[in-house]
Amino acid sequence: MPMITLSDIPARGGSPFTPAMGVFLLALSTAPFSLPAVGLYQYLGIEVAIWLIVALGFNLLFGYIGLHSFGHGAYLGIGAYAFGLFQQEIAVSLWGGLLAAISAATIAGGIVAAFISHRRGIYYALMTIAFGQIFWFCAIKLHGVTGGEDGLLGIPRPDFVLGPIRFSLADNTSLYWFSAVLLALVAIGLWRLVNAPFGRVLQAIRQNETRARFVGYDVWRIKWLTFTLSAAFAGLAGGLFSMAQESAYPDVMSLHQSGLIVMMILVGGGLVSFWGPVLGVILYFVARDVIGGITETWLLWFGLMFVIMVMSRPEGIAGLIHVARTRLGHAPAGRSAPKPTEV
């Protein structure tokens, strides 16, 4: 069977509230109860929510437009540092900190994207690694700003304040709810974006950049915009990471972390489905906490699973599900836009 791609998944118009979105939102809203019920802990929900924001935003770049960045941990880290510095140097403010995190990552992403958007393939990937390493190196060496290898410690968790509503995010349950709401907004927004013309244009560029250029698309600008957007989402996640960890440190920006993001997306099936990154992130954390509870070598087993998945079904878990649904007659294959009779 030929490898399927995101373009095999039909474009959907109208409301983002599909059955899959319903399941996702239900899982998010029940996690504080279901996690302890299965012997897991509340903080895991926060971690998953943060990494889901990174992964969903990153898949815009990796899965949809097909640009392979291996340095996206840098923008997560920049967001984390920006949030921490805002709290420590300017004011203890949730919205100010998150705005700083998003802005810093967006600016850094925009600058990097301006240098690399005329490339694709191996050169693009290598340049994202190079820029990621530059940011990581700066985080280690700029002691006066970033705290060097120790990072920024004791970053406060500011209260949630919105008009008359005010509550503390000091405990993990309330921070989970805050992160989950942000994640839900990100998921709905991104879902709409990739199912709108913008998403189809991204996929067209992934398939044939030259053809896209010659039918009138400013490919450089769209590649720049996509990279910058994905960096912005990583920045938002970085701000939440800083709150969750109450610290920001260079390890977040390492090549290892950037590789993990790619691995999560590939295993989950981000090349095939919007929901692929969600499956990949959940699988990673389940492997870490469940297999990790059994053996210290959990990452070895996760790595082996990654190798087997790439060799046997490179479309990942979402690809497996799609193929199964197609065989059962539940999913249309090889059709992207609705036929007139279906509109």
């Binding site: 398939q207 009138g216 509109v343």
Partner: protein, 247 residues
């Protein structure tokens, strides 16, 4: 006044001069052919004319506007379309989406994150009408990669026609086609010539001499003659060359 004009174009890659003082003039509503042996610089000439490469010297004008050095997407938006010698399609998507992506009304909403274009029946009807021009409407919902070679060539032309261009550049449209498919393509171009100005590179001399109103002969990166097919047969170089024998 010519619709499309190139004056004294030069292009070199490193020490190698590929185009030397190329000048072309394409009148509105005509079919203009470009012929020449392999390596003469025909495709590079197309790349320069359509913005894929910027010329080192010279000037290109389209409908009176200077388009020299403009980028491909800017040139495409002005009403200049092209096909490629090596097939360039959105292979993972269905045939109709290849055309929809090239429609100006879709392109203008391409960065709109909200608008639901795939729910727009007018857009789909418009794409089907374009496919109908090249005889591919019945294949609209099949994957582009699954089409036979000749139909993929036709889809290339449909994608080039979808933006409603004023001029279409076709780079060796018969390349790889059998006799029947070539004949069908000739009929298609004959039909299109009433609506578009066409410039085509072609190795099939019968095809080219049969369709073109004027032909430019390129050799060693220079235009060595430009004339009507009838007059061109009298050109000594063309007559001596294998190209002329076939014609």
């Amino acid at each position: 006044m010519a619709l499309f004009e190139a004056q004294n174009l030069r292009k070199r890659f490193g020490a190698r001069v590929v185009l030397e003082n190329i000048s072309l003039s394409i009148e509105d509503g005509t079919v203009h052919g470009i012929m020449g042996p392999n390596g003469a610089g025909k495709t590079t000439c197309f790349h320069v004319l359509t913005g894929h490469h910027a010329p080192d010297a010279g000037r290109i004008t389209f409908a009176g506007r200077d388009i020299t050095g403009k980028k491909p997407h800017q040139i495409a938006r002005m009403g200049i379309s092209r096909s490629f010698q090596i097939m360039n399609l959105f292979d993972d998507t269905v045939v109709i989406e290849n055309v929809i992506l090239a429609l100006p009304e879709f392109r203008s909403s391409g960065l709109n994150p909200i608008r639901d274009v795939f729910g727009n029946t007018a857009l789909i009807d418009r794409a089907l009408a374009v496919l109908d021009q090249v005889g591919l409407a019945h294949r609209a919902w099949e994957k582009a990669a699954a089409l036979p070679y000749g139909e993929r060539r036709a889809l290339e032309i449909a994608v080039a026609l979808a933006p409603e261009p004023r001029i279409v550049f076709l780079d060796e449209p018969t390349s790889g086609l059998g006799t029947d498919a070539t004949r069908a393509l000739a009929d298609l171009i004959r039909d299109l010539r009433n609506r578009y100005t066409i410039c085509l590179i072609e190795h099939d001399m019968r095809f080219l001499f049969d369709l073109a109103d004027r032909i430019s002969v390129i050799h060693w990166g220079q235009v060595i003659d430009e004339n009507t097919p009838a007059n061109l047969r009298a050109n000594k170089w063309v007559a001596r060359s294998a190209l002329g024998e076939v014609a």
